[in-house]
Amino acid sequence: MDDVLRITLFTLGVAALSTLLILPFGVGLGWLLARRAWPGKAIVETLVALPLVIPPVATGLVLLKLFGRRGPLGHFFERTLGLEIVFTWKAVVLATAVMSVPLLVRSARVAFEEVPVRLEQVARTLGAGPWRAFFTISLPLARRGLLAGGVLAFARALGEFGATVMVAGMIPGETVTLSLGIYQNVQLGRDDAALGLLAISVTLAFGAVAASEWLLRRKTP
């Protein structure tokens, strides 16, 4: 298969998988942050926002130490599931997921905050348990913001570089995404190839952001 096509599909696949993986977590945490007061809330809020503010390479280093073979989590996954994570495609998914989760949680929180609490309360008085109220009222009413957040997280995952390169390396055919490919090609003096990948990156990112804008502006039916 053509290298460029393979890198493009790999990048799209990784971004889609990481977005799918963080979706339940991000939406759930967004709701908890918007609606509930719980001990340690401020700490969780800070932890989740951290990847936005510290250098991606630093986040990558933390992941490398945690998920490396001698790291606590890496050791656990290898022993119990036989999973080797670092320097495989799984590490790419891990890095992009961690880097894009803050965007999803923030969007989800704002989306849920815009749903009047009153509606959830009335649903409860009408006999709906907390889960039914969430799935029939909160989720549908927050869906535009959640979709937009998902698209944003997906776009972030498409372009992730710093954390990925730390935890997944730059193994051709195994962990090279569009961003990594651009860097690698420039390093090797293949500027034309780099520019080709750049064009694809820009197109994908543009598409993702346009989709997010469209979802946000679309009128409620």
């Binding site: 008085t125 709906a128 409620t220």
Partner: protein, 357 residues
């Protein structure tokens, strides 16, 4: 079905609510100014707030008992709740709003067609809830609460967001709910005219405490304390019969007396009404006083009792029906009012308020 609250306590830094009360069948108006704790109390009953102490029971169901760690979640209480803003689900059609809380087969459930007929919303079922007018929204919210087979209805100022004309249009529906479904209702309001038009009993709430609780006419005529009088105003409320209605001017039989009232909105076929006359609107003159006056209503009366309330005097009169007048100390002294003395009563027609029952 009796709703009973015992030692219910709820507090913030600036506000505390402490309530003991029993609410029986019929409609009880929960009356008080904003910040008196009306909504907080209703939310405690609905299960949206947890009191720090106390028990709440509905019939033989314990809703809350803090001593035993019991607090039923709202979905297990079967208490219908209609907030001020109606809180319809905007992403659902009217019909799906109504069916959201439907409990097929539950005792006390009402059929969709019946509820829609009573509230006049049968034609709206297919519409999106987001596109309704203010009055339609409130009727759909009431219907939705009824559809959930509630054992108690909590209405938290359901008319407050509407203008006067819409209010008058919704009140008959509330009366129909009262008469048709025979559910105990707590009706929160800070508008005395709504309470008079709808409620059997009134509970006056002030700074988180229940100040007086009794039949509406009783509480309005004889507020237990000057505080209650200040909150509700003093009013005489009496049943009356319409004997004629011409050009918006109604003639009413009240007790053994006849009164003229302005009632431009009264439906032509109405017979039984309530009249309310605020005590401050009653003018007293000496029995031999002038007869030519613009006041449409002039009645001979006898003073029954005189009571002091701050700078005012509360005069209880008999003029063919019991009537209360509030006068300043000076006026009362000049008229030399004492039990047994005759006096003439003047009330302008617009001050005789006619309320359909």
């Amino acid at each position: 079905m009796t709703l009973s609250l015992q030692g219910v306590r709820w507090r913030t830094d600036r506000f505390s609510l402490e309530i003991d009360a029993r609410f029986g069948a019929g409609v009880t108006g929960l009356f008080g100014v904003s910040g008196s704790g009306k909504s907080t109390l209703v939310e405690i009953i609905a299960g949206l707030r947890r009191p720090e102490a106390g028990t709440v029971t509905l019939g033989d169901t314990v809703l809350v008992d803090t001593a035993r760690g019991v607090a039923l979640p709202p979905e297990a209480r079967r208490v219908g709740y209609v907030p001020q803003d109606a809180a319809l689900f905007p992403h659902l059609s009217v019909e799906r709003n109504l069916r959201y809380g439907e409990r097929p087969g539950a005792a006390g459930g009402f059929a969709l067609a019946h509820v829609c007929a009573v509230l006049g919303i049968g034609g709206l079922l297919a519409q999106s809830a987001a596109r309704l007018s203010g009055g339609e929204r409130q009727r759909v919210a009431l219907a939705r609460a009824l559809m959930s087979a509630p054992r108690l209805l909590l209405l938290d100022e359901p008319l407050a967001a509407l203008d006067a004309a819409r209010k008058d249009a919704i009140l008959p529906y509330l009366r129909r709910i009262r008469d048709e479904f025979r559910l105990p209702m707590l009706y929160v309001s800070h508008a005395p005219e709504e309470i008079v038009a709808l409620c059997d009993d009134i509970a006056v709430l002030d700074q988180g405490r229940l100040r007086q609780h009794g039949p509406v006419d009783e509480v309005f005529r004889r507020p237990a304390t000057p505080e209650v009088a200040r909150i509700v105003g003093v009013e005489t409320i009496l049943p009356a019969r319409v004997t004629s209605l011409i050009g918006g001017l109604a003639t009413l039989q009240v007790g053994s007396a006849s009164l003229t009232a302005l009632a431009p909105l009264l439906a032509p076929e109405t017979h039984d009404v309530l009249v309310s006359i605020r005590a401050e609107d009653v003018i007293l003159i000496p029995p031999e006083g002038v007869m030519r006056t613009s006041a449409r209503n002039q009645l001979s009366a006898v003073v029954r009792a005189v009571g002091h309330e701050g700078a005012t005097e509360r005069i209880e009169l008999d003029c063919g029906f019991p009537l209360v007048a509030m006068l300043t100390r000076q006026s009362a002294a000049e008229l030399d009012l004492a039990p047994g003395r005759p006096v003439r009563v003047l009330v302008k027609a617009p001050h005789v308020h006619v309320i359909p029952r």
